[in-house]
Symmetry: C2
Subunit: 524 residues, 2 copies
């Protein structure tokens, strides 16, 4: 039954899922609506399609075709967004480089990815000197005569989906900076990108009225797939090149921004800047670290409504989502405690579990810790040219995240620690996140990171590395007194070190460097 | 490149798309939110899952398994919604029968579908007397002792997706009543149902705050996939058994309804009832016929915001979508003229075109007529046990809709006529819809249908069959004078016939019967 030949899939009823169809629909439905704003110019979706078509035409002329890797090292500018459509429209694969990467790492990635060519801009060009593939620099401004200008000239016809013959086809290759080891190339597919784009649109409520500010770099997991998701809704992409509070607030006011995404560190900057309040409320999806009560309360007062996402490059960005809503009852501390949880599975996440070492799901008791594992259409195809790391990541038929969490009775997930960031002192596990959350409650703490320092007697003890707020005169003794009031004895940091924290190119705190520093300070 | 073995799909990164995963997520995320309201009771999503589990368990005990067809003849009640999950969870196929079908047609469908069993309720049971498969009647009210009670007792564990091994697997078999010929069985898949559910959620903006009133029968294209879409959002399904203005308005007020769907004929009923205005604004997706200015203006005043969808059973319901928005400038007539268009492609519709007889796309000039054809993941797999009709529908690699339309310069589609409903008079094509639209502008016209009557000289002439509004004393001469003011001579109906119009079980006007009546009247 139902296996008759005439019921098999055919071109009329089966199309590979691809974000390219989403752009084509948006151009048709919202062609006259603004698509991208950059400096003083705005292009509508019909014009944006032309930029994409010019880019595809130029890439094709360079010999780019099916399966080729095109690398870009670009800030959040129209051509960066256009590359997310022009490259896959040729059946090629987009490799977006972190603009803060150093020379050797760039060379490694370009070689490992086998990049056919690299697109850059004036400010990223120096980092690409001497690399193997040909490098082309984009113009600084449309029509100014510098570099490759994709804003001007004829826009040849482009058959968007002719080169998408399978939805399992790779669309992007995103290298994870990681905290140790060589970067790994995460392969994403057209199907995964389509589903996560639609999932984000659904979760965040993007519409054609959406004005999305690009505080999040597009090179970061393809901007958590919002490059495709905001486009699917026909919303406006507001480009931002420099993540500083002043331009952020200026653009929010100018473009009546409705949504933005960023790590909490950006929000701390805005909070610390703290002078002007935008003229409209902004929904902010934050992730990478849990928002603290201080952050939640401060941002709410300034007109920002926080939601919390959790995910990895390996999960196309968001895998869980927590949006308690402004009408959640309770004090700001209570609401922050809820918001600090990673929440529930994202729309696109079919299977999520917190499992023990035997792969069994831990009880939903808010106590039992396990590792978060994922099974979903928005989990990477694997690591490019790295079967071993791929098999390790997929051991047991799930994607292993390496994150330690509990599951609350209502099903919410709450991260207790990155597996490798647990401090084990005298046989007791100390969650570095728990201690950091306490530190962040102190009004003079801007950023805090807690790591394990080696200790003869206890094995490890927790140390705190802290960035103080501007103008603060807080001492180590002040902070220790604060911790005495809020932490069990064994969890209290044995030492406080003030100074700027080392961060990766994507803004993650490099705890392995702090661990190294702590080790050296102990042995000195 | 990228064809390495370790990058191939595996269970961690490929799951068949299925609405069952959407329910599982909703139970996890919104388990305590209301799922279904029926009479004076409401069940939350955790309780609804138990109803589904009990139903699946009972069906399994009757021998239902993979590939079996389960028929239901039910009004919009909790078990009808539950069947949309319980049946596919067993790998079986749901066949929802129109509750207004007559005995012979039911027998034909049950036989053609090879139904394993039939579920019905007290009011639909008489229509099923003497059918071949075993019939089970559901209880009238939970716990009242009548019939099969799926609200009470143990709820066994249910592995939702264990029996979904391919997303191409059929999920439902919907017989189109059609206007001529035997009903055809449209086969829908898990993939198509998932994508259309998410597409509807996106287009209509369903959230967990949504309160959806079931004015649309769930047996109609699985309720345009809203059975799965509202569930995906975690919204409330408000059951409605009898489509009458009084209970509709009562339920809107009681459940703060945000959305409903129905054919314009239901809206005319509400408008004609016209006494009370609901306490909240309701977004109404209407389809099957274009909303007229009278309807738009009247409904807006009563608190209903109309959007217009177009689709077929063969396209899982909505294939195009027109939501001009309340802030569209212009008079109500101008806005109604815009809203009367079928609009743009729906979120899930990848390819839509208006083509001439050679299969070439007609110019986007608002003038050139062609047939609407579709290519999409939400186009049926085919007609069950009918290869010939399937190949005819898919000729040229598109689904042929049989609807004649123009494409406006902005890309909007506007239906000019059902292919078979064009009146050809003296070599001139007359759009019956155009004439009907004029008639609907007359304040005393409730419903009008224009068909071709045979004519010795002109070949055909248009005749109008008209239902007058309650208490109207309008004469044929009055209506003719009205048409003289608004229509070219050759388009004016040659005759006006007052009385109730014959309708199919789904509320479509049976024009073939009117054509028959006209023919008989001419020859008498």
């Amino acid at each position: 039954m139902f296996d008759e030949q005439h019921l098999m899939a055919r071109s009329a009823n089966f199309r590979p899922l691809t974000p390219l169809d989403l752009l084509e629909r948006t151009v048709e439905v919202h062609g006259a609506r603004p698509a991208v704003a950059w400096h003083d110019r705005t292009w509508d979706y019909t014009e944006f399609r032309e930029i994409v078509a010019r880019m595809a035409h130029w890439l094709k002329a360079q010999g780019v075709g099916r399966g080729d890797v095109v690398s870009v090292m670009l800030t959040n500018r129209p051509e960066m967004l256009a590359a997310h459509f022009a490259v896959p429209a040729l059946g090629a694969v987009l490799n977006a480089l972190n603009t803060r990467l150093a020379g050797q790492e760039i060379a490694y990635i370009l070689d490992h990815a086998g990049s056919k060519l690299v697109l850059c801009e004036t400010r990223t060009a120096p980092a690409l000197e001497g690399v193997a593939p040909p490098v082309t620099t984009l113009c600084d401004r449309p029509g100014d005569g510098t570099g490759l200008d994709l804003f001007e000239g004829e826009a040849p016809a482009l058959d968007w989906t002719a080169n998408v013959t399978s939805e399992a086809q790779p669309i992007s290759l995103n290298y994870t900076s990681g905290t140790t080891g060589r970067p790994k190339g995460v392969v994403c597919t057209h199907r995964g990108a389509y589903l996560n784009a639609i999932g984000n649109l659904t979760a965040l409520g993007f519409t054609s009225e959406t004005s999305y500010l690009w505080t999040l770099p597009m090179f970061h997991c393809n901007g958590w797939c919002h490059t495709w998701g905001v486009t699917a809704a026909g919303g406006l992409h507001v480009c931002l090149e420099q993540v500083d509070p002043a331009p952020i607030l200026e653009l929010i006011n100018r473009h009546k921004v409705t949504h933005m995404c960023c790590a909490p560190v950006v929000l701390y900057m805005i909070l610390d800047h703290g002078e002007s309040v935008p003229s409209c409320r902004v929904k902010v999806m934050t992730g990478g670290a849990a928002p603290t009560p201080t952050l939640l309360a401060g941002m709410e007062k300034q007109g920002f409504d926080l939601v919390h996402g959790y995910g990895l490059t390996e999960s196309y960005g968001p895998a869980t989502f927590n949006d308690p809503g402004a009408d959640t009852p309770g004090t700001v501390e209570e609401r922050a405690a809820l918001l600090a949880r990673q929440g529930f599975r994202h729309y696109t996440t079919a299977g999520i579990a917190v499992v023990d070492e035997a792969g069994q799901e831990v009880p939903w008791d808010g106590q039992s810790e396990g590792e978060i594992v994922l099974r979903s259409n928005t989990v990477m195809a694997g690591y490019y040219r790295d079967p071993e790391a791929t098999e390790a990541a997929f051991a047991g038929g799930f994607l292993h995240t390496g994150d330690v969490a509990v599951r609350h009775p209502d099903g919410q997930i709450e991260i207790r620690d990155r597996a490798k960031d647990v401090v084990i002192s005298g046989g007791e596990n100390i969650s570095s996140i728990e201690v950091e959350t306490v530190l962040h409650r102190h009004p003079d703490v801007l950023l805090a990171a807690v790591v394990a320092a080696p200790h003869e007697k206890w094995g490890e003890t927790p140390w705190a590395f802290v960035e103080r707020r501007r103008g603060s005169a807080m001492t180590e003794a002040d902070l220790d007194r604060f911790c005495q009031q809020h932490l069990s004895g064994f969890k209290r940091p044995r030492r406080f070190v003030f100074g700027e924290l080392p961060k990766t190119a994507t803004g993650k705190i490099q705890k392995f460097l702090l661990r190294e520093t702590a080790k050296q300070m102990v042995t000195q």
